[in-house]
Symmetry: C2
Subunit: 142 residues, 2 copies
């Protein structure tokens, strides 16, 4: 599995937020129900993204969470890194500590190319673009 399950959930949460954002806070409970994810799990994930500066929260009635930035200023990689840390895919795919340009393992070059494409998937487009394209196609929504 490329992404941790909690990262999958984080992305689902963000997509829901973007699709339903109207400057109000949205309750985590609502998102959990709509996305069919445990409320407790989503709460924790939200907290991580709050610490990462992607979301902000408000406690109390009418409270909830919302995006700090505009969807056109967020990349998938920001969400992924907020959950998995900043060194995603950084390591040698064979697990060699000292593998690198100076000291490549047997599949270093191949992995480098593949990683480029994966990171491009995470960095290339903003979340807004991804959602927009998606809406255009009138397809499966979160």
């Amino acid at each position: 599995m490329l992404l941790a399950k909690s990262t999958e959930n984080a992305i689902q949460l963000i997509i829901y937020l973007i699709r339903h954002a109207d400057n109000d806070y949205i309750r985590v409970k609502e998102i959990a129900e709509q996305c069919n994810i445990s409320f407790f799990i989503l709460s924790k994930i939200a907290q991580k993204m709050i610490k990462a500066g992607i979301l902000e929260s408000y406690t109390g009635p009418n409270g909830g969470i919302k995006l700090v930035k505009n969807p056109s200023d967020i990349q998938l990689i920001d969400v992924v890194q907020s959950i998995e840390g900043t060194d995603v895919l950084d390591k040698c795919i064979l697990g060699f500590e000292h593998c690198g340009e100076m000291n490549p393992c047997a599949v270093h070059q191949h992995w480098k190319e593949a990683r480029e494409v994966i990171l491009n998937m995470f960095e290339g487009k903003t979340l807004k673009e991804i959602i927009d394209i998606d809406e255009l196609k009138e397809v499966y929504s979160v």
Copy 2:
């Protein structure tokens, strides 16, 4: 992490076997020492690859494991699948059960392209080719 740690070890084991194969069985203990992996872990990994038909073993003095096929007939994907199962990377990256061509999630198309490249890394070249290129460059060996 893209690959499970045991899959990393499996690939290291295979590369060692290819580099030191001379039709004799090689002791798992030797591989474990040379590759700096726990003997117990490598034993289990070897057993999985034996069940997958990649390796064969011989019990007793002068026993050990060796490749069943020629390195030019083995692809990385064979090794990966022997440990991780045959549905590696098959699932939706956002974890949606029903995501597919008919019902794509917001990042389905992007993930499809990235997966293509990853699988190509695993399928495109035989292990022999990977090792040969590596030797040519006189670089880091396992």
